[in-house]
C-alpha cells in the first residue's frame, strides 16, 4: 500500500551535497555556468511553462533567469543551498512577470483555491495561449482537462503546487521561497490537490457522458 508516485524523468536537484556551481562560476570557473544551465534549464522551462502556458514566454523567462543569475553571480553569497537560491530567483521573476502582465483587477482572498467566476475554461489574457490547430491536435483531451484544472487554481495555490509536485521542493523550502508560514504551504497544497481532483473528476464524468452520448 505504500506505493508512491513515480518521480519525473529528470530528477530534481536535491541540494544535498551538490556543488555550488554559482559560487564556482563567481570564483572564475568558466565551465561552472554551463553545468548550471545543463542541470536546471529543462526543469525551469517546465516551471515557467506550467505557470504561463506559453512556450515562447517560458523560454524567454528561462533565458532571463539565467542572465539574472549570471549578472548577479558577482554578488552571490551562498547562505543556504544553491538550489533554493535558483528557485527563489525563478519564483520572484515569475511573480514580477505575473504582476506586470496580470490584467484582472479582481481581488481574491489568498485562501481562495479557485477563481470564482466560471465553470467554463477561463482564458488568460496575458499568456497569448490561444492554441494553434497543431497544438489542438497534439494536446490530448486529458491534458487539456488537466491544464484547465490547473488554470482554475489561484496563483498562490498554483505556485505552491508547482513547486511541491513538479519541482519537488520540500514544504520548508517553499515556505522560505514564498515567505509564508509552513502551515500555509501545507493548507494551500492540500486545498489545491482537493480542488484539482474534483475538477478532474468532473471533467472525466463529462467526457464519459459525451462518449456515452456519442455511442
Amino acid at each position: 500500500m505504500n506505493k508512491q508516485a513515480k518521480t519525473p524523468a529528470s530528477a530534481a536537484p536535491t541540494g544535498a551535497g551538490e556543488p555550488d556551481l554559482l559560487a564556482a562560476y563567481r570564483d572564475g570557473d568558466p565551465t561552472a555556468f554551463r553545468k548550471l544551465v545543463d542541470q536546471y534549464r529543462e526543469r525551469l522551462l517546465q516551471f515557467f511553462y506550467r505557470l504561463c502556458w506559453d512556450r515562447d514566454r517560458a523560454e524567454d523567462l528561462t533565458q532571463e533567469l539565467f542572465i539574472k543569475l549570471m549578472l548577479g553571480s558577482k554578488r552571490y553569497q551562498p547562505e543556504g543551498r544553491m538550489t533554493t537560491f535558483v528557485y527563489r530567483v525563478a519564483t520572484n521573476l515569475w511573480i514580477d512577470h505575473y504582476r506586470a502582465q496580470k490584467p484582472r483587477p479582481r481581488l481574491l482572498s489568498f485562501d481562495q483555491v479557485l477563481h470564482p467566476d466560471d465553470d467554463a475554461p477561463r482564458t488568460r489574457e496575458y499568456a497569448g495561449d490561444a492554441p494553434s490547430p497543431a497544438d489542438q491536435l497534439a494536446e490530448s483531451e486529458e491534458k487539456a482537462a488537466m491544464r484547465r484544472a490547473l488554470e482554475r487554481l489561484t496563483e498562490p495555490h498554483r505556485l505552491v503546487f508547482e513547486l511541491a509536485v513538479y519541482q519537488e521542493r520540500p514544504y520548508a523550502e517553499i515556505s522560505e521561497l514564498l515567505d509564508i508560514p509552513i502551515g500555509t504551504v501545507k493548507s494551500r497544497m492540500h486545498n489545491a490537490v482537493a480542488a484539482l481532483k474534483q475538477l478532474l473528476a468532473t471533467a472525466d464524468e463529462e467526457r464519459g457522458r459525451r462518449a456515452g452520448g456519442a455511442g
Binding site: M1, N2, K3, Q4, A5, K6, P8, Y25, D27, G28, D29, P30, T31, A32, F33, R34, V37, R41, E42, L45, Q46, Y49, R50, R55, D56, A58, E59, T62, Q63, F66, I67, M70, K74, E142, K143, M146, R147, L150, A164, V165, Y166, E168, P170, Y171, G183, K186, S187, M189, H190, V193, L196, K197, L200
Partner: protein, 511 residues
C-alpha cells in the same frame, strides 16, 4: 506525534512527496497500513500525481541555441573577469618585498667576497628566466641563485654547448635572443588571453549565416562559397562521429579514414575539429565538435613533439569555444614546453628535442608557434613559451637559409610566428611568397591554409590573397579527410579571423 499528522493532519500527497522527516513518514505509513480509507486515498493520489506529471512541454528548436548563447556570454565574462586573488597571491608582493630586502642585505654582507666574480649579461638573463617549477616568489633578481635556477643555468649551458656543435646559426642566435629578450610581462599574459577571447567571439559571430554571407560579399566573394563550407563541415562532423572516443591512437586499431600513421591521424583529427570551429556552429556540429575535442583530449597524453603541438593547437580552439579541457591544455602545454627546455643526457645531449628535430615539418613548426603564443592564456609560463617560440623561429630561419625557401617554410613563419618577424624580414617573406599562386599550391591545402590564415584584413596584400582564395572555391574537394578539412578551412578564411572586419568596422587600410 508529528507536526504533520498531529497539528494539521496529513494527506496522501504529503506522503507521496515525502514531505516530512523519516519519523513522520513512518508514522504516515503506519496509518496507511492500519486504515483502508487512507490506503484508498493514497492509491487515488498516486494516480492523480501520475496524470499531473505528464503535463510537460517540449522545448522549441531554438531554445538550446538560446541557452548556448547565455552560456557563451557567461563564459566570456568568466574569462574576462579577473579571478579573486588567493591568500598566497595576496601575500606574494609582500614576500617579494621582503625577499628583495633580504637579498640586498645578504649582498651587502657578501659583496666583498664576490668582487672577483662579475656576471655576464647572458648569465644574468639565464638567472632571470624562471626554471621549470619556479614561482614568482622564487624569482629573485641578483646574483644569489637558488638550486632551481642553478639547474636551469646548467641546462642553458648544455643547450648552448649542443647548439655550438651544430651548424644551426639562426637557431643559436634565436636561443640567445630568447634568453635576453625582455618582454612586457603583462602583455605576455594579456595578449594571449585576448586572442582566446577574440577566437571565441569570432566563432559566435560565424554561427550566423547572415554574418558569414555579409563578410563574404564584403570581400567580393560569392555567398555560395558558404554553402560549400557548410556542406564540407557537415561531412567532417559526420566523420568525426565515426572516430571512437576511447582507444590508443598509437596502436593503429582505429586507422581507417583518419589515416594510417599516428601523425596522419592526429593531423586529420585536429584539422577536422578546427574546420568545424572555422565553419561556424550548428546544433549537430556542436555535438561533433565536443566529440572531436574529447577524442583529442583522450589522445593528447600519448603524444610528443610535433604531434602534440598539432593536437593541442586544435584543442585550444575547442577550449576557447566550449570552455572544455582547460586543465588538460594547461598541463599538456607545460609538458610541450618542458620537453623542449629539459636538458639531460638524451635531450640536448644525444639529440635535439623532438619539436626541434629535422624530422618536424615546417607546417608542424608553424602550428607550434601559434600554439605557444596562446599557451600563456592557459597559465603556462609565458617567458618559457616565448623562449621556445624563438627556438622554433630559429629552426625555420635555418631551414630557409639552407636554401629551402619553400612555400611551407615561409607560410609557417608567417602563420605561427609572424609577430616575431622583424619588419624587413616580414616584407621579404611576403615578397618571396608572391612567387607561388595559391591555386598552384592547391593540393597542399595545409600550406594554403596557413598562408590564408596568416593574413588579416588591413594588411598589405590581403586583397590580392582574397582574390586567389576565391579561385579555390571552384576546385573539387580533395578525397583525403585531412586535405578536405584543410580545404574547408581555406574556404572559411574569407570571413574568419578578424572580428573588427566582421562587425562592420573599416576594412582595408592598404591593399
Amino acid at each position: 506525534m508529528s507536526e504533520l499528522s498531529g497539528r494539521t493532519g496529513w494527506q496522501a500527497i504529503d506522503l507521496l512527496l515525502e514531505q516530512g522527516t523519516g519519523e513522520e513518514l513512518d508514522g504516515m505509513r503506519r496509518d496507511v497500513d492500519a486504515d483502508p480509507l487512507r490506503a484508498l486515498e493514497v492509491a487515488d493520489t498516486v494516480e492523480f500525481l501520475d496524470r499531473m506529471r505528464g503535463l510537460e512541454v517540449e522545448a522549441s528548436r531554438e531554445f538550446p541555441f538560446r541557452m548556448r548563447e547565455v552560456v557563451a556570454r557567461a563564459t566570456r565574462r568568466a574569462w574576462s573577469r579577473p579571478r579573486p586573488r588567493t591568500l598566497t597571491e595576496r601575500l606574494t608582493p609582500l614576500v617579494a618585498v621582503l625577499s628583495a630586502a633580504a637579498t640586498v642585505a645578504v649582498m651587502w654582507l657578501v659583496e666583498p667576497l664576490r668582487r672577483e666574480h662579475r656576471v655576464t649579461p647572458s648569465e644574468r638573463a639565464c638567472a632571470e628566466l624562471p626554471g621549470p617549477a619556479s614561482s614568482p616568489a622564487t624569482q629573485q633578481r641578483g646574483d644569489v641563485l637558488d638550486a632551481e635556477q642553478a639547474a636551469w643555468q646548467s641546462a642553458v649551458e648544455q643547450m648552448r654547448h649542443r647548439l655550438g656543435q651544430e651548424v644551426a646559426p639562426r637557431l643559436r642566435e634565436a636561443f640567445e635572443r630568447g634568453l635576453q629578450e625582455a618582454q612586457d610581462p603583462l602583455a605576455q599574459w594579456l595578449e594571449p588571453r585576448n586572442a582566446m577571447m577574440l577566437l571565441r567571439i569570432d566563432h559566435e559571430l560565424r554561427a550566423s549565416s547572415a554574418v558569414r554571407e555579409q563578410a563574404l560579399l564584403r570581400h567580393g566573394n560569392l555567398a555560395a562559397v558558404d554553402e560549400r563550407v557548410q556542406l564540407l563541415a557537415d561531412e567532417l562532423a559526420a566523420a568525426l562521429f565515426d572516430e571512437p572516443l576511447g582507444g590508443d591512437i598509437v596502436d593503429g586499431a582505429h586507422a581507417t579514414r583518419f589515416g594510417t600513421t599516428v601523425m596522419e591521424r592526429v593531423q586529420t583529427l585536429a584539422y577536422s575539429v578546427r574546420a568545424l570551429v572555422g565553419a561556424g556552429s550548428s546544433r549537430e556540429r556542436a555535438a561533433a565538435l565536443r566529440h572531436g575535442g574529447d577524442r583529442l583530449a583522450a589522445v593528447t597524453p600519448q603524444l610528443h613533439g610535433e604531434a602534440l603541438a598539432i593536437a593541442l593547437s586544435a584543442l585550444t580552439e575547442v577550449t576557447a569555444v566550449t570552455g572544455d579541457h582547460f586543465a588538460l591544455v594547461q598541463q599538456a602545454g607545460a609538458r610541450l614546453v618542458d620537453e623542449v627546455l629539459r636538458a639531460d643526457g638524451e635531450n640536448w645531449g644525444r639529440h635535439r628535442p623532438d619539436l626541434l628535430s629535422m624530422r618536424v615539418s615546417a607546417g608542424g613548426l608553424g602550428e607550434a608557434g601559434r600554439l605557444l603564443a596562446w599557451l600563456p592564456a592557459f597559465g603556462v609560463d609565458a617567458p618559457r613559451c616565448a623562449l621556445v617560440r624563438n627556438l622554433v623561429l630559429g629552426q625555420l630561419r635555418d631551414l630557409r637559409d639552407q636554401g629551402q625557401e619553400r612555400p611551407e617554410v615561409l607560410a609557417a613563419m608567417l602563420y605561427g610566428l609572424g609577430d616575431l618577424l622583424q619588419e624587413g624580414e616580414r616584407e621579404r617573406v611576403l615578397h618571396s611568397l608572391r612567387r607561388w599562386k595559391l591555386t598552384r599550391l592547391a593540393p597542399d591545402f595545409v600550406t594554403v591554409q596557413q598562408l590564408a590564415w596568416a593574413r588579416r584584413p588591413g594588411e598589405l596584400g590581403f586583397t590580392r590573397l582574397q582574390g586567389e582564395l576565391r579561385q579555390l572555391g571552384v576546385l573539387a574537394a580533395p578525397t583525403s579527410l585531412l586535405e578536405r578539412a584543410a580545404f574547408c578551412l581555406c574556404l572559411s578564411t574569407n570571413f574568419a579571423g578578424y572580428v573588427g572586419d566582421l562587425s562592420g568596422g573599416p576594412t582595408q587600410r592598404r591593399s
